[in-house]
């Protein structure tokens, strides 16, 4: 009995170790693994794509699974990179993470693959290609889908305030906020409704929904980081901090967290929200009877000229170096994001494919006719930016977040001081 037990203790780990090693070395180069995002619509889309591809390419098969569940897909991918268990293709990579992975040498330089460059220039504007090109000159990601951040507003409230349309400039936004607050404050000074709300936590990515899109809007899409230095120490960032600071100082925006309550926008507790197209299906499903809403561009300084940019929360496709056949992986990606399949993606997920002329292309016209609210996002898609191709962006956004909290929410620093301090810290970060 004891001898048997001993054998089991020794043999099982040995066998498992052997199995895990042998499975890696015997990868079939004509059978790749693809991970998609794990939201339901994207899973459905990926399933259709893989089935079609496998039907047309019986000798070059793709296996599909959604990215395993975890606190975030970013953490799962990181764990997979560490454990060398990455998929061959991954289609939900945040653009801001790509440079870190590229520098770690775990991504395939896609521009070295046959047919990549001609395809990418036919699909995307040169500005987009430039945006995703790493400082080393290579491209490690395929720009795939975006969700531009815009101002969502309650139409009835805007009408009740006597406005002809949603506020588009800082002063329009301020005066609308003031009117709205005056109507929604009780005798004890409690504000019952706010003109807007943005998450007050210092969590770095919260700035994708306030500071960063406002900064891009004010500056015409200027970078945050350039040549390994802070590029946001300019008048636009100061103006954005001043604008937001004023909203909190006058209690037009709530300082307390509202997000754990009901949907405060649909409940009429807030009149506006900085958000993306994912709100449409949610709002249409849960809105009360008679509730009307619309989207417009992010507010801009009063003297703003030219198009209004915003942040687009880009998620891109990458090929990991563990892939035994990068050319096959690229062929599959090219199939998945061709025009016909982009239309299917748009229909199934209501997310915008990152391709040029989307709004005017006749292939997509029927979709936008059926989904008029998405037209605003398609128009906006011409003027969007992702993130700059530099590493450590998480820390850059965290530094900005700390200063944002001190200046915008608590008024402990002037906008100029806060931006200067943030820029100094970011410069130090890239010096290390």
């Amino acid at each position: 009995m004891i001898k048997k037990l001993l054998k089991i203790f020794i043999i099982i780990p040995f066998v498992l170790a052997q199995l895990s090693c042998s499975s890696k070395s015997e990868r079939n180069p004509d059978h790749l693994i693809y991970w998609s995002s794990n939201n339901t619509q994207e899973i459905d889309f990926a399933r259709v794509m893989v089935a079609e591809w496998n039907k047309e390419n019986p000798q070059r098969q793709i296996s599909f699974q959604p990215v395993p569940e975890g606190q975030s897909s970013e953490e799962i991918i990181l764990a997979a990179v560490v454990g060398k268990t990455t998929p061959d293709i991954y289609s939900n990579m945040w653009q801001g993470d790509v440079e870190d992975y590229a520098r770690a040498g775990v991504l395939v330089a896609l521009d070295t693959l046959k047919g990549f460059k001609s395809f990418i220039y036919s699909r995307c504007d040169s500005s987009v290609v430039k945006e995703v090109t790493s400082p080393d000159g290579h491209i490690y990601q395929v720009p795939w889908k975006i969700n531009p951040i815009m101002l969502m507003y309650n139409k009835r409230i805007i009408e009740q305030l006597g406005l002809s349309g949603p506020p588009e400039t800082y002063s329009q936004f301020d005066s609308a906020s003031e009117k709205f607050k005056d109507e929604n404050i009780d005798s004890h000074g409690y504000v019952e409704k706010w003109f807007g709300y943005s998450e007050v936590l210092v969590t770095w990515w919260q700035r994708f929904f306030d500071f960063y899109p406002l900064y891009l809007a004010a500056s015409g899409g200027a970078p945050l980081v350039k040549d390994n230095k802070a590029a946001f120490d300019n008048k636009y960032a100061v103006e954005v901090f001043s604008f937001l600071r004023n909203l909190y100082a006058h209690n037009y925006f709530a300082k307390e967290r509202l997000s754990v309550r009901q949907d405060v926008f649909l409940a009429g507790v807030i009149a506006t929200r900085f958000t993306g197209p994912w709100e449409i299906s949610h709002a249409d499903k849960f809105k009360p009877k008679g509730f009307k809403y619309g989207f417009t561009h992010m507010p801009v300084p009063d003297n703003h000229q030219g198009p209004v940019y915003t942040y687009c929360d880009p998620k891109n496709i990458v090929i990991f170096k563990t892939c035994p056949n990068a050319q096959l992986a690229w062929d599959f990606i090219r199939f998945m994001i061709d025009k016909k399949n982009d239309l299917m993606f748009l229909k199934m997920t209501n997310q915008i494919p990152r391709r040029k002329n989307l709004e005017t292309d006749s292939v997509f016209a029927g979709y936008f006719k059926d989904n008029p609210k998405m037209v605003e996002f398609a128009k906006q898609a011409k003027y969007v930016k992702g993130t700059d191709p530099y590493p450590n962006l998480t820390e850059v956004f965290d530094i900005i977040s700390q200063e944002y909290e001190a200046c915008v929410i608590y008024g402990k620093k002037t906008p100029q001081e806060a931006i200067d301090d943030a820029a100094k810290q970011v410069n130090l970060l890239y010096l290390k």
């Binding site: 004891i2 770690a104 409690y190 210092v202 754990v260």
Partner: protein, 287 residues
């Protein structure tokens, strides 16, 4: 089964734990110590960094701030917890009506998920929307920025943590109270001692070991403050609720500064060990 085999049996029985210990305790600890001398962002190879992480720790104002915050939390939480738990234990040790119900009711928050409790209190603490401020206004006291005022945020978390954990310490104190011999109180009654005099001169000295145990447990628990600020405030406002553990977590899993995070963790573990050792000395001295 021969004698030789019998000698091996105890080792076989402890083998599963030894494997567990080596994999999940010894290996991570040794690896963490190695990490403290390296820079590692998980995805790139480790780089030897010598004492850089330790030097950074000495100059890290955020870590000092987080330590200070943790001490503020302990300074509020521990006395508050002991006073409330002892008071309630004394009450629940009397023959009162519905004693069983009250004992269960006070213990209930201990078994409720920390996340649920935190979200519940976040609602209560709302500046404009919270129930607590509505009550304060109704009784003529002004509003308090429970979670949005940097000077109130950590005390607010300490109050919530006390509410959550006090049930456990009530049980411990009740056990301690029930070990006090009744004849001491009877003798004091004969001498005409008041309730306060009995409490001060008999109860407190007799339950001293329990008090110290509660202090030790609360200290260790308080040092590991994480869920509450992580969910409620994210460490804000203005880093006033950034606890040491939250800061270590952020360094490790937000910025992937694994070497530095391990250094902070090691330092913090030694700090807790030192505090507990000092407390242990006190306990032994009292005994």
């Amino acid at each position: 089964m021969n004698f030789k085999n019998k000698k091996i049996v105890p080792y076989l029985l402890v083998l599963p734990y030894i494997i567990y210990f080596l994999m999940f305790v010894a290996y991570p600890v040794i690896f963490s110590v190695i990490l403290t001398f390296n820079k590692w962002n998980i995805i790139s190879p480790m780089q030897y960094a010598g004492l850089t992480n330790y030097i950074h720790l000495i100059h890290d104002e955020f870590f000092l701030k987080s330590l200070g915050n943790t001490l503020i939390f302990l300074a509020i939480h521990i006395p508050l917890q002991i006073i409330i738990a002892l008071f309630l234990a004394e009450m629940l040790n009397q023959k009162i009506k519905f004693r069983g119900f009250f004992r269960a009711a006070f213990f209930l928050p201990v078994i409720v998920s920390g996340v649920v409790v935190t979200i519940l209190w976040q609602q209560l603490y709302g500046f404009d929307t919270g129930l607590l401020n509505r009550v304060l206004t109704a009784v003529g006291i002004g509003r308090i920025g429970w979670l949005i005022d940097p000077s109130w945020a950590m005390p607010s978390i300490a109050i919530m943590a006390t509410w959550k954990n006090v049930g456990l310490y009530i049980i411990l104190f009740m056990v301690g109270l029930q070990t006090v011999p009744q004849n001491y109180y009877e003798a004091a009654d004969l001498e005409g001692a008041t309730h306060w005099q009995k409490f001060r001169s008999i109860t407190l000295p007799m339950i001293n070991p329990t008090i110290f145990m509660v202090v030790v447990l609360s200290t260790i628990g308080g040092f590991s403050l994480f869920i509450e600020p992580y969910i409620m405030t994210g460490g804000g406002p203005l880093n006033s609720t950034l606890s040491a553990v939250l800061y270590i977590y952020k360094q490790g899993f937000f910025y992937y500064h694994m070497g530095y995070s391990a250094t902070l963790g090691l330092f913090f573990a030694l700090l807790i060990l030192g505090v507990v050792m000092i407390q242990k000395k006190f306990i032994e001295k009292e005994k």
